[in-house]
């Protein structure tokens, strides 16, 4: 995979292969959690609207994997060598990302369009957070998340600042409708209520930036501890 300067961390073929291996397993975990949520909603006899997102996730995610594997000619192939396993894991990893994106976007839509089922949001949250946490922790531990070099670290941090600012702004926009009912019920908008959204934006942005840079720095350290730098290697050889 060609390195893109716009990316915040390096992703090379070795890292991609290793992380695809994990993501492919998490695809099954995430799909299973979504399926369990669907069963729970069916048992609770909720309206079809309440489990539309689960259906979309399972059909789109599963359909993507199925069609991709058939197109690549590896569907239900029993004897997969290292190369075919790599392709298979790559497809499942993409399926995992697709399902996760659907869950994230769908969760937001669900939150605003079906307020009567808000308590069920925790299910969606759990379905993507659990695999995402596992993936993040393992990625840091294995050093898959890293800047790659000093130059990339500078570029990456600059890029991250811009992205976090956009993300914080989007988060603020999403937060305004959620605060509106409270303000309308009050009848009066206080100074603190006007301040709360920009404060949330700044807090979210700063926290995310610190958290992400620390995570990448830690990943970099882990990667360097696994593969000594040249100067360290020379001192070992001496």
């Amino acid at each position: 995979m060609v390195w893109s300067k716009k990316k915040t961390q390096v992703m090379d073929e070795r890292i991609e292969k290793e992380s695809n291996g994990l993501a492919s397993k998490l695809f099954y975990v995430q799909t299973m959690l979504v399926a369990l949520l669907l069963v729970a909603k069916l048992l609770a006899k909720l309206s079809w609207k309440a489990y539309l997102l689960e259906m979309i996730c399972l059909v789109v995610g599963g359909g993507f994997v199925l069609i991709s594997e058939i197109r690549k000619g590896i569907f239900l192939l029993k004897d997969k060598d290292a190369a075919l396993t790599g392709i298979h894991e790559g497809v499942l990893a993409k399926g995992y990302s697709l399902e996760m994106a659907l869950l994230l976007f769908g969760e937001l839509v669900f939150m605003y369009t079906l307020p009567e089922y808000r308590t069920w949001l925790i299910g969606y949250f759990g379905a993507w957070v659990v695999p995402a946490l596992v993936f993040t922790v393992v990625s840091v531990k294995k050093g898959w998340i890293q800047w790659g070099s000093k130059k990339r670290q500078l570029e990456g941090k600059q890029n991250l600042k811009k992205r976090v600012a956009i993300g914080a702004f989007a988060f603020g926009i999403l937060m305004i409708p959620s605060q509106l009912p409270m303000w309308l019920v009050d009848g009066t908008v206080t100074f603190m209520e006007i301040l709360i959204v920009p404060l949330e934006m700044v807090l979210f942005g700063v926290l995310f930036y610190i958290m992400f840079t620390r995570m990448v720095d830690k990943g970099e350290k882990r990667a360097n501890s696994d593969v000594p730098t040249e100067s360290e290697e020379m001192s070992i050889e001496e």
Partner: protein, 65 residues
């Protein structure tokens, strides 16, 4: 098996692992792992490394008996 030929070629080009990694678009650790013989790169990465170090595939990656 360690790939000393690649390491020598890189040093001859006056490149550090980090600089070579930058040129071919991978992490510094991947170059370190290839040189240490702990990672088998794909053919496309081998070609990129050869181009960056002005060598042929045979010169860098063909096993010498």
């Amino acid at each position: 098996m360690k790939n000393k030929r690649m390491k020598i070629a890189r040093v001859e080009c006056e490149l550090t692992q980090e600089q070579l990694a930058e040129k071919v678009g991978v992490a510094r650790q991947t170059i370190g792992l290839i040189e240490a013989g702990n990672y088998n790169p794909s053919i496309s990465l081998c070609i990129d490394i050869c181009k960056a170090l002005n060598k042929t595939l045979d010169e860098l990656f063909w096993p010498v008996e």
